[in-house]
């Protein structure tokens, strides 16, 4: 047997295979001045909601403020130009906000906001022109009083309103013995034209991220929850069945669920290997996971995952630059094709919890570009996004409509950072798809959009939730490399398969369920 001496730094990096093109990000806040502030009560959270509330086709930004007030910034960028924002007066400038997710709760075509707080959560009804009003009472939403840190939404079959899941963290009053003091997560299901009183998702284990996702392509999304092992007792990661009309029910070991205990901070899901099933990236401290189904061809498919982070070079377990070799602390993960090469890349927001000396203090954000062989290459420094600030939430919207995804990062007790993606220097193509169907669920949450180009089919699931304190809505972005067009179809939430259509690249397309696609630009 031949064995070789181990050089850790070599093992941590997979062989470079067809190195991906690196996009150049230019730091450009565009006038945004905002920080997520606060001490212990705001050590987690710190999100951003990226969505178009002004109806101009460009995403606006709503930031959690922690101990300070949340703020909304209207996107005044010129298409293809520099980024610029103006502070708005939205009616949602409340304090104690930990995170926010956009969704069209009442399917009226105006985006609403789910606002999570240290205290009462709020549903804010979109009034148009980036103005909002509290709608807890009108929609029957019990905002509770907990320290809320995770959110997800889906539309269950036959329901006029979405089902909301809210993840709650520690009881902040437990000063001397906070461990084991996880408070109950809540599930809000519709009852007529309002939400019913919430149902506790017990056991609850200090959720920091939740995602309704159709992990096995059964047509019925399940609720995935990532939990912070720092505070639970007897806890683990969770997956809940949510069958229409039935109480929520945990997947069990007898059903194949495998116990995993991490400092769960964020979830990102995407079909990386193009097999039709999503892989999931789970952020943690020193042991991030990239989970791929062990047996996607089995019948039935069991919720058993192999951790392929190490093999694919996507572990991101320690800083890759800056000289701090202590383990990393990872928060918001998001898959997005930032170089338009048709392969999803992975952004991870990084930052110490708060003066934890066992973990890196200088902890750069990761930008892992996917290689042709499915491995990843760390490119944060070359791309210009290796910030050492203490990041939490993030979003990757196309802020200036130029077809290159930009980057927004929320930092704790430091200013928000925004980078404009200037592209790779190569004339790559892209397409953005915005499926729409008649109410309810106007924006087809939990539909799948498929794009065929360059001999492969990319698939994205439309979700509301996941990440860390952050969400975005709007057209789904697909990189197309050199393809001048792509075939596109939508697998609608009720299982109906839309027809394939060939659409030109470099456009944002609206795809009505029963109509003709139209380009927005």
């Amino acid at each position: 047997m031949i064995r070789t001496a181990l050089a850790l730094t070599v093992l941590a990096s997979p062989a470079l295979a067809d190195a991906p093109e690196v996009p150049r990000f230019l730091a450009e806040t565009g006038g945004v001045a905002h920080s997520f502030t606060g001490e212990w009560e705001y050590m987690v959270g710190g999100g951003v909601a990226a969505f178009d509330c002004s109806d101009d086709g460009l995403p606006d930004l709503y930031f959690a403020g922690g101990a300070g007030a949340a703020s909304l910034w209207r996107n005044t960028s010129v298409k293809g130009g520099a980024l610029s924002f103006e502070r708005g007066t939205s009616g949602a400038e409340v304090d104690a906000v930990t995170g926010a997710w956009p969704l069209d709760f009442d399917s009226d075509g105006k985006m609403d906001l789910a606002v999570l707080r240290q205290g009462e959560n709020m549903l804010m009804r979109g009034l148009g022109d980036c103005r909002f009003e509290r709608a807890n009472e009108a929609w029957g939403f019990d905002g509770g009083t907990a320290w809320s840190t995770a959110f997800a939404a889906t539309w269950e079959a036959g329901q006029p309103l979405p089902t909301l899941a809210v993840g709650n963290y520690i009881d902040p009053l437990e000063e001397a013995f906070p461990w084991g003091a996880c408070t109950e997560n809540w599930l809000h299901r519709p009852e007529g034209d309002r939400l019913a009183p919430p149902v506790a998702l017990t056991p609850s284990f200090c959720a920091l991220s939740m995602l309704f996702t159709d992990w096995n392509r059964s047509g019925v999304p399940a609720l995935r929850i990532s939990n912070d092992r720092e505070y639970y007792k007897g806890g683990q990661e969770q997956l809940w069945h949510l069958q229409p009309g039935e109480p929520p029910r945990l997947y069990t070991e007898a059903e194949g669920w495998q116990r995993l205990r991490i400092w769960g901070m964020g979830i990102a899901g995407a079909d990386l290997d193009l097999d039709g099933y999503p892989e999931y990236f789970l952020t943690s401290m020193a042991d991030n996971k990239l989970q791929a189904l062990k047996a996607p061809k089995a019948a039935p498919i069991l919720p058993q995952y192999a951790d392929v982070a190490f093999a694919k070079g996507a572990h991101a377990q320690r800083p890759y630059t800056g000289g701090d070799v202590r383990p990393s602390t990872a928060w918001h993960p998001q898959f997005a094709d930032v170089n338009n090469d048709g392969r999803l890349d992975l952004f991870i927001a990084k930052g110490n919890v708060s003066e934890m000396p066992d973990f890196a203090q200088s902890d750069p954000n990761n930008l892992l570009l996917q290689n042709a062989d499915g491995t990843f290459t760390e490119s944060g420094e070359r791309a210009g996004v290796a910030s050492m600030l203490t990041a939490r939430g993030a979003a990757l919207p196309d802020l200036n409509g130029d077809g290159w995804l930009d980057l927004v990062v929320v930092n704790r007790n430091a200013g928000v950072e925004i980078w404009r993606n200037q592209g790779t220097g190569q004339p790559r193509h892209w397409i953005a798809i915005d499926p729409q169907q008649p109410a309810p669920n106007l924006h087809a949450v939990n539909a799948w959009v498929e794009v065929r180009a360059n001999g492969v089919t990319q698939r994205h699931e439309i979700t509301v939730g996941g990440g860390h304190g952050s969400g975005q809505s709007g057209p789904l972005h697909f990189g197309l490399m050199d393809a001048p067009d792509a075939e596109v179809r939508v697998l609608w939430p009720d299982g109906t398969e839309g027809a394939w259509q060939t659409l030109a690249a470099d456009r944002v397309w609206t795809l009505p369920r029963d109509g003709t696609a139209s380009a927005a630009n």
Binding site: F177, P178, W179, E230, R261, Q317, P327, M356, D358
Partner: protein, 440 residues
């Protein structure tokens, strides 16, 4: 039975009935001293669980240091019948004696523990820091109730002086600074078949935990190799070899686990960052016995010191053997030579296999606790009730240690030789600790 959190809350609120409360003031203060020590140790168990540096060897050292501190506080207040460990424990000199009469034991104990715990857990996270501050504040208020201010001040200072003395002593033992959670930044793997290989997919754990720990100064043992072990069965891939037979035993055991065996494996799993670790499990047992039997403060302090020294030395002895033999883990061997799909029930720890750390330190703990409380001392173990694992009852400390040891076979992380020889090694360590004299 009170759960940990309920119990602690009651203690902090002053609601736990303290037997003898209506008797003399001294008895009252002794009960409070015991409660202060209990409460701080409950917090220490949580801090061990939630501070990343605290792998089992590091945790064991902290238990020893805080236990010795507690004992020295009380020994100094009654030198006529309590004997200091100075001159008995390696390199430990006499701590400062009280400079004036009228030291209150409860306040002194609080002063010592508050200072000591903040030192040893200075690198815990923001929640642990907040908890230590809250505990300090609440217990300081509690010990000051009804006491003259100058007595309280003097007593707190004396406790801090003793704690500082122990901290200074421990600084030179080799275990004070733990970098990168104990994992070397670079490491050359052994080159022979049968040597340890990484089993984890965590980058840090591609190097083994704390390879220099055997260089630490032991406390009661004269040297790290004072309880050396014979070699494990010779590595072999031959089906008839003893090594292969023991690997097959692990494989077949894991494949055919009973529900009870699974429960035992998980009960003693005691994973770092998910539990108070194996040495913390034994500390938890001691705290529960203290509560059940209403032990006086000095019995608790004595037991904490001796148990802490035992598990701390056990890890030094065990680690000395681990890096001497550098043996491969079952998961590596079984996947390569028996079944590539083998999955152990427990997470395989990131360091060499032989001997089993839990076995060694459990053997040492059982030896010491048996010396303190006697043979066939039955107890309930509620360490993991809050984590959903039910209480287990044991007829003796040795029975518990044997179950802890065999749990590593059920968990699929150790061969039998590591278990049996680990227990024997622990007994050897315990004998050194049992020679320490505390009550006289």
């Amino acid at each position: 039975m009170l759960s940990r959190r309920l119990f602690t809350g009651l203690v902090l609120a002053g609601l736990v009935p303290v037997p003898g409360i209506a008797a003399t003031e001294a008895t009252d203060r002794d009960a409070l001293t015991r409660d202060v020590l209990l409460t701080w140790n409950r917090l220490v168990l949580e801090l061990v669980r939630h501070t990343a540096t605290y792998s089992p060897p590091v945790a064991a050292r902290a238990f020893a240091c805080t236990g010795i501190t507690a004992w020295e506080v009380l020994a100094g207040l009654a030198p006529d019948h309590r004997k200091s460990l100075a001159g008995q424990v390696n390199a430990l000199t006499a701590p400062p004696a009280p400079t004036a009469p009228g030291i209150d034991p409860a306040a002194a104990m609080h002063g010592a523990m508050a200072f000591s715990v903040r030192h040893y857990f200075g690198n815990t996270g923001p929640t642990g820091q907040r908890a230590m501050r809250a505990m300090d504040s609440r217990l300081a208020e509690r010990v000051a109730e009804g006491m003259a201010e100058d007595v309280v001040t003097r007593s707190l200072e004396h406790g801090r002086d003793v704690a500082l003395h122990i901290i200074e002593w421990a600084r030179s033992d080799g275990g004070e600074v733990v970098e990168n959670m104990g994992f070397p930044q670079t490491w050359a793997l052994g080159t022979q078949p049968g040597h340890w290989e990484p089993t984890s997919k965590i980058v840090q754990q591609q190097a083994p935990l704390l390879p220099d720990w055997p260089k630490n100064r032991p406390m009661a043992m004269p040297s790290a190799d004072a309880c050396g072990l014979s070699a494990p069965p010779e590595y072999s891939e031959a089906p008839a070899s003893e090594f292969h037979v023991q690997a097959v035993e692990v494989y077949e055991t894991v494949r055919n686990l009973t529900a009870e065996q699974k429960l035992i494996a998980r009960f003693w799993s005691d994973d770092p960052m998910l539990s108070p670790t194996p040495p913390g499990h034994w500390i938890a047992i001691l705290l529960e016995i203290t509560q059940r039997d209403d032990l006086p403060a000095d019995r608790l302090a004595d037991a904490l010191a001796r148990l802490g020294i035992a598990v701390s030395d056990a890890f030094i002895a065990c680690w000395q053997a681990k890096y001497q033999f550098d043996l491969v883990r079952p998961v590596t061997y079984i996947r390569r030579h028996i079944d590539p799909s083998f999955e152990p029930l427990l997470i395989t720890p990131p360091f060499p296999e032989y001997p089993s750390g839990h076995s060694t330190q459990s053997g040492a703990a059982a030896s010491v606790l048996t010396a303190i409380f006697g043979d066939n001392f039955a107890f309930d173990d509620v360490t993991h009730v809050d984590d959903g694992l039910p209480m287990r009852t044991f007829p003796s400390f040795h029975a518990a240690a044997e179950e802890a040891a065999i749990s590593r076979l059920y968990g699929g992380i150790h061969f039998r030789a590591a278990i049996e020889n680990g227990l024997s090694q622990g007994e050897c360590v315990g004998e050194f600790v049992n020679r320490l004299v505390t009550f006289q």
